[in-house]
Amino acid sequence: MTMTERVARLRQQSLEAIPTLSGERAELITEFYAQNLGFISEPVRRALAFQYLMEHKTIYIGEGELIVGEKGPAPKAAPTYPELCCHSLEDLDILDSREKIPFKVSPEVRKLYEEKIIPFWKGKSMRDLLFREMTAEWKAAYEAGIFTEFMEQRAPGHTVLDDKIYRKGMLDFIEDIQRSLANLDFYNDPEAYDKQEELRAMEIVARALIRFAERHAEKARQLAAQTSDPQRKAELEQITEICTWVPAHAPRNFWEALQYYWFVHLGVTIELNTWDSFCPGKLDHHLLPFYEKGLADGSLTREKAEELLQCFWIKFNNQPAPPKVGVTAAESGTYTDFAQINLGGVKPDGSDGVNEVTYLLLDVIEQMRLLQPSSSIQVSKTNPDAFIQRAGRIIRTGFGQPSVFNSDLIVQELVRQGKSVIDARCGGSSGCVEVGAFGKENYNLTGYFNLPKILELTLNNGVDPRSGKQIGIRTGDPTQLKSFAELFEAFRRQMNYFIDIKVRGNQVVERLYANYMPAPFLSLLIDDCILRGKDYHNGGARYNTTYIMGVGLGTITDSLSAIKYHVFDQQNLSMRELLHLLQTNFEGNERKRLMLVNRTPRYGNDDDYADSIMRQVFEAYYQAIEGRKNTKGGEYHINLLPTTVHVYFGSVTGATPDGRKAGMPLSEGISPVQGADRHGPTAVVKSAAKMDHVRTGGTLLNQKFTPQLLQDEEGLTRLTHLIRTYFNLDGHHIQFNVVDAATLRAAQANPEQYRDLIVRVAGYSDYFCDLSKTLQDEIIARTEHTSF
């Protein structure tokens, strides 16, 4: 474990910094929008807004920092985006005082909001517009918790960078822009003028980022002049030089490469509050040439590279996710902003992508042990076992990182969706588990979809028992259903009805962003926006995918299995009795509830009775969504992941036929219902592998392990084989929680003693003590059955 004194201090500062809500960006953007700029196009307006922010935001260079730049005015001072979501005073009070994931709001910021921000933006933000444009059916479904809406507070992003910034400076991008401008065909292309505006906007933002870096260079120069410490002076002078060179030009060395990426990261996340922030993607591949060159010419050592990477890691950890409220806070209740760094995988030619920097980064992950950035290993059959085992040694320390992806399957998934094989190999996973062609795709996650709630509505003929409102279609009196097939058909129709509603909403939301919230800076970075002269939100990317994420697969499978088994096959429970049990939340009928829990074939046990129902649900969900056209020239696909929404969805879903009580969390990802898997990890893996992962854009499997199972080398070897086998069976992703229930209970009882306990939630890790009580209980339940 090596960490220089500098890194240890910066890391500690990052850990101890209290997240605050900064008013700076809100104030600047409001000033900008308050100007009367006359008639200008939206791309140019957004570009000028970006320029204004880059020119005026506070420049922060912390003591001892080697990588510089903050999204806010200081570490963990989170900016806000009132043009997207204007927080009310009540929101600010909630953010300031809530027990979990708070952001301190100073009286000055509150006053700023009260006097300037709220009067200007109230009722005029994208969030207001979005809700105004939704239909009554959409609102009813949203309020009932059938689905969520990702874009109600945050902008689409969900993308990852490829290698282009390591080859090109902003000045090179500007050359590309000018070439595209020169090629515009005003005689034959009716969109030529729109494209001209978009390209002009891109040029403005490219220059703005250069200016932003120059301001850092100026700041570093000033600090260098002030310091009496010769070593720090030299560092600051070097920072000055670096910030003068990048991002204007392509990086010349390892340090410049990291600093360049960081400026780009800040650009994307200051322009808009993009989902999943932003991410360098295959960092080990991108950095390798700089690393090798540095070692060869003596300008870099492994130790220096390590220290720079550690400083880079801390930068990510300094940026909590934008403050969220309402349903968005419930579905994604975490400070983590989902930047996920990929390691290993394959090279563009399909060969083994594990290199020296891969191992260096794994060392950094282990030493830093930070929530952000998240990390994953991309495991290909071409990779050595030693790579998985090295990662396994970090996994067993129990902070849930890195997660493990099947690189070969990801290539298949992307190719199936229509990407070229090279673009697919340059892709990977991001956010939680979703896949994308890095640097070339806009792959939007638009909302979670509550599968068990659909069954609840089906069993109530379209009425939501929570509100008594008829929000779904009348699929028939459930007591009149004659077979499981009829029930399933009713479920399928009900699901399609709500998918239609969600898709219609999405089509509108996509156009709202295309029309009013173009992102010229993000567009600069994603092929082929420059070539096409089109914005990222308007079909500029080479590939455009829209996802709707299914949630509660275990719960819905077990619930349908319970009905099929007990009501139709065994006939030891009538539909009427079952409905009564659900309506009364099993009150006074614990025995019947336990029958449903313990005498139902359940998903996660390698039991074809249940697993075939899982496949049936998968197929129906897939058919409902797959291949629909989005507004950007791309298609809809599915994936299956939950972040923290399984807790929220559970809270709005009544008792389910699998014996789950009303309000309890749903199952997460494609993991079995908490505690339903009784035959150990191989059975879980077999069950999960019966799904056709190739036809998804990502699935999330959580696997619990007691620390004892991984304590020795043999345990690690076995883990490697378990991963390899899941991937031989074409599984997409697996992640591990290596902590026992007793420890979690102790942490729940004495949080102050377990402040640093990190657990895997779903696609990301979080401090256990920062999780809601319900989510804590849910994770304990997952960890409980470890008899194997």
Binding site: E590, R591, N598, G680, E714, H721, F788
Partner: protein, 306 residues
């Protein structure tokens, strides 16, 4: 040779992703019945060759369904608990069927070779990847020799790696018949002193030691396993005798030290059987290291765990 897949035997568990039962990812099949009666036995539910009733008091929801359904009148309500009079219980399983809380369980299940094989084959993809396979354990698997023989042959015919976890207490003829279908023996050695062995396990160890010598002479793949129990077999004298015996064998066999653990207590309670080692402490790590050093100095290949 044709394997009789309709042949059946009694099992008490099939555990997938089992650890410490041989190389790779393995499924362990626990055969019921054991001729030994070791004080420290951690699978007391495997001792009797008969099916037994097992209770998990903490799961009981006091619904009384078991009482209602018991035709033998073997269930007695004692205040808040439902106890079983094992003397008159007919093991019909009716109460287990009705106990949705899974507080009552029949330990032991008759299964055919074909059924067991089907369970084993479920994890074939893991065996192939990891070099794992099946381990037959118990109880004492050699206690159901015909059934075990058929299982081994069936696995062998499917190309599944086989291990047998045995105490070695069986007539040589039985071992001789089976051994060709066993890829690996996990062979328990507890005590070398015959009298002490008899005292703590109920049988002489003469046949056990002889069988091991025979297997070794025939060149079989064997891991010797030494369950180390404080105050019973961790004394220097036993260590000396073990070393002497192991060094006298035709092969130099690897030795796995298995530290005693007290996790079986709840099983004794569930079966209504007294646990004789209630007050035995867990072996100290320091002592384990000493033992390991001791064997290593004598030239043996030793692992703790395994």
């Amino acid at each position: 040779m044709v394997v009789k897949n309709t042949l059946s035997g009694i099992l008490f568990d099939i555990r997938r992703y089992s650890v410490h039962d041989g190389p790779g990812i393995r499924t362990t099949v626990f055969l019921k019945g054991c001729p030994l009666n070791c004080w420290w036995c951690h699978n007391p539910e495997g001792k009797s060759p008969q099916i037994e009733i097992f209770q998990r008091e903490n799961r009981c929801i006091r619904c009384g369904a078991c009482l209602e359904v018991c035709e033998a009148g073997a269930i007695i309500q004692h205040n808040d608990s439902f106890e079983t009079n094992r003397a008159i219980c007919t093991l019909c399983g009716a109460c287990v069927e009705e106990c949705y809380a899974d507080a009552r369980e029949l330990v032991g299940k008759r299964m055919t070779v074909a059924e067991v094989l089907a369970e084993i084959e479920r994890d074939r993809p893991f065996f192939q990847q990891s070099g794992g396979g099946v381990t037959f354990s118990g109880g004492e698997p050699l206690f159901q020799p015909t059934f075990l023989g058929a299982l081994l042959k069936a696995c062998r015919s499917q190309g599944i790696h086989t291990a047998v976890d045995t105490c070695g207490y069986a007539p040589w003829e039985i071992l001789d018949r089976l051994r060709q279908d066993v890829d690996l023996f996990l062979y328990d050695l507890k005590l070398i002193d015959e009298e002490r062995h008899h005292w703590f396990t109920g049988v002489s160890n003469r046949i056990i030691l002889e069988n091991l010598r025979h297997l070794s002479a025939l060149g079989h793949n064997i891991f010797v396993r030494f369950p180390i129990i404080p105050y019973i077999n961790d004394d220097d004298q036993n260590l000396h005798l073990m070393t002497e015996f192991l060094l006298s064998l035709p092969q130099k066999l690897p030795l796995d030290i298995l530290p005693y653990h007290a996790s079986a207590l709840h099983k004794y309670n569930g079966l209504g059987v007294e646990y004789r080692l209630k007050d035995t402490p867990l072996p100290e790590q320091e002592r384990l290291n000493e033992v390991k050093d001791f064997f290593e100095k004598a030239g043996l290949l030793v692992r703790i765990g395994g």
